[in-house]
């Protein structure tokens, strides 16, 4: 318990002293995870909606692959992105391995299946006749999709929250493709692992608590948006 209280005290001290390194790590964590979530939201929600609304041969296989992607370990996604971005790999010429961009790419690979899988389920869970009803109200195809997205906004926001939760808490991929470089690619999770490995449990705990507060803050914001204007 002493260790826990020491951790809380250290976290508080680091926060109120506006420790530059901690602030930069926290901001980078927020930046890369928010950007990865945003990209995943665009690809995942739109892709998931397209899959849910269309009929094509092999649809079940595609949905199964997306659902499998929801459970891919971050370290595997990190390994894949590392190979792709390695100097001799297909995208090696861009020289973005061990940069924040590489972390965004790896985290996008992790979050997209999560967002897409939940989006597919959310749209498929709407009454099938609702599409006909929307069209019968005179909607164009685009208006119909927009109204369906509005109708599924609760699970879709949950999908985005799951995506953000999945990437802000992962460490394997960020470590592999970012390299945990001080002041450049070090994020809260990689810093926590590093401090823990050094035996600095109070600092590790402090970073973990900051991560929890950050995650809560973002999820609270998303929840406020999710629950907004819901009539009683």
């Amino acid at each position: 318990m002493e260790l826990l209280f020491d951790g809380i005290a250290t976290a508080w001290r680091l926060l109120i002293s506006l420790d530059r390194e901690v602030l930069s790590i926290t901001l980078l964590s927020l930046k890369v995870s928010a950007l990865a979530t945003l990209i995943s939201m665009l690809i995942g929600v739109l892709g998931g909606t397209a899959i849910a609304l269309s009929r094509f041969p092999g649809k079940r296989l595609v949905v199964s692959l997306v659902n499998t992607g929801m459970g891919v370990p971050p370290v595997v996604a990190g390994l894949f992105v590392t190979i792709m971005l390695w100097r001799s790999g297909p995208f090696g010429q861009f020289e973005i391995l061990y940069t924040p961009t590489a972390i965004v790419i790896a985290q996008t690979f992790i979050a997209t299946p999560l967002v897409m899988g939940i989006s597919v389920a959310a749209i498929q869970n709407l009454p099938p006749a609702l599409r006909l009803q929307i069209l019968a109200l005179g909607a164009s195809r685009l208006q119909m999709v927009w109204l369906l997205l509005l109708e599924a906004r609760l699970p879709l926001m949950a999908a985005i929250m799951a995506g953000f939760g999945g990437v802000v808490s992962e460490v394997g991929a960020s470590m592999m493709v970012g390299g945990n470089i001080k002041g450049y690619t070090r994020v809260l999770t990689t810093a926590t692992v590093m401090e823990s490995g050094r035996g600095n449990f109070d600092t590790a705990l402090a970073l973990g608590l900051i991560l929890l507060v950050l995650s809560f803050g973002v999820n609270y914001l998303l929840t406020v948006i999710q629950q907004r204007q819901r009539p009683r």
């Binding site: 006749a129 009803q133 019968a136 005179g138 819901r230 009539p231």
Partner: protein
């Protein structure tokens, strides 16, 4: 067809699903202000007919003319669909307030501001649900929800309303009251309508003419009186009590 010129003309409408005929209707016309009831046993093709007319289902073949203009049901039907609307058995309301539900079709047409509020208020008033305006659509009874669905449809001032067994889920009392209000609103708006139903009283109350379908084909067509006097099909005899 009665009285005025035909607003809707269907010719050679043929729909099949899974290689099986679902609907084969050589000819159907509907006059302005006319209410046509489509009756028949389950699987007769009633819903398929309504979906085809609504532009929500592309038939295998057939021609449709609406107020003299040919409509390509296999192409983009958005402009045509904005001239009519359809109410389903399930009210299919959106997860928002009653007012927002009624406003949806108007917003789709780009109507906003005071005009939107005026039309929404009028539709709510006509279906006697003004007091429910701010309520969540999820918190309504079956009868209230169906009133909202009808208000949402009539708010659009459609030239034709298609109704696919819209009262089936209601209890007899709610059904009777709502049918009266619907008849009043159809008369008030002068809107043509096609309604499918399993309810004789409702058909008698609302319809000028009746089309009887069985296994996708028309088996009798005429006024309610004509069908009551001379049934050409066992279903008609059973429906109107012999």
């Amino acid at each position: 067809m009665i009285g005025n010129a035909a607003m809707l003309e269907l010719e050679g409408l043929f729909v099949k699903r899974g290689g099986k005929r679902v609907l084969d209707l050589p000819l159907l016309t509907l006059a302005e202000n006319e209410t046509l009831a489509v009756i028949g046993p389950n699987g007769a093709g009633k819903s398929t007919l309504l979906l085809s007319i609504a532009g929500l289902l592309s038939p295998d073949s057939g021609r449709l003319r609406f107020k003299g203009k040919a409509i390509d049901l296999s192409g983009n039907t958005t402009a045509y669909r904005r001239r009519l609307t359809m109410v389903f058995q399930d009210p299919l309301l959106f997860d928002c307030t009653v007012e927002e539900n009624v406003a949806t079709g108007l917003r789709i047409r780009g109507i906003g501001g005071k005009e939107l509020h005026r039309q929404v208020d009028l539709a709510l008033e006509r279906f006697k649900i003004t007091h429910l305006g701010r309520r969540s659509a999820r918190a309504l009874s079956g009868g209230e929800a169906q009133r909202v669905a009808l208000a949402r449809a009539f708010a659009l001032q459609p030239e034709l309303v298609l109704m696919d067994e819209p009262f089936n889920a209601l209890d007899p009392l709610a059904r009777r009251v709502l049918v009266d209000d619907l008849a009043h609103n159809l008369h008030l708006a002068g809107t043509a309508a096609i309604i499918t139903s399993h309810d004789r009283d409702k058909v008698q109350r609302l319809a000028n003419r009746v089309l009887v379908l069985d296994k996708g084909r028309p088996v009798q067509y005429g006024t309610v009186d004509e069908l009551q006097q001379k049934a050409h099909h066992p279903f008609v005899a059973a429906f109107f009590g012999g």
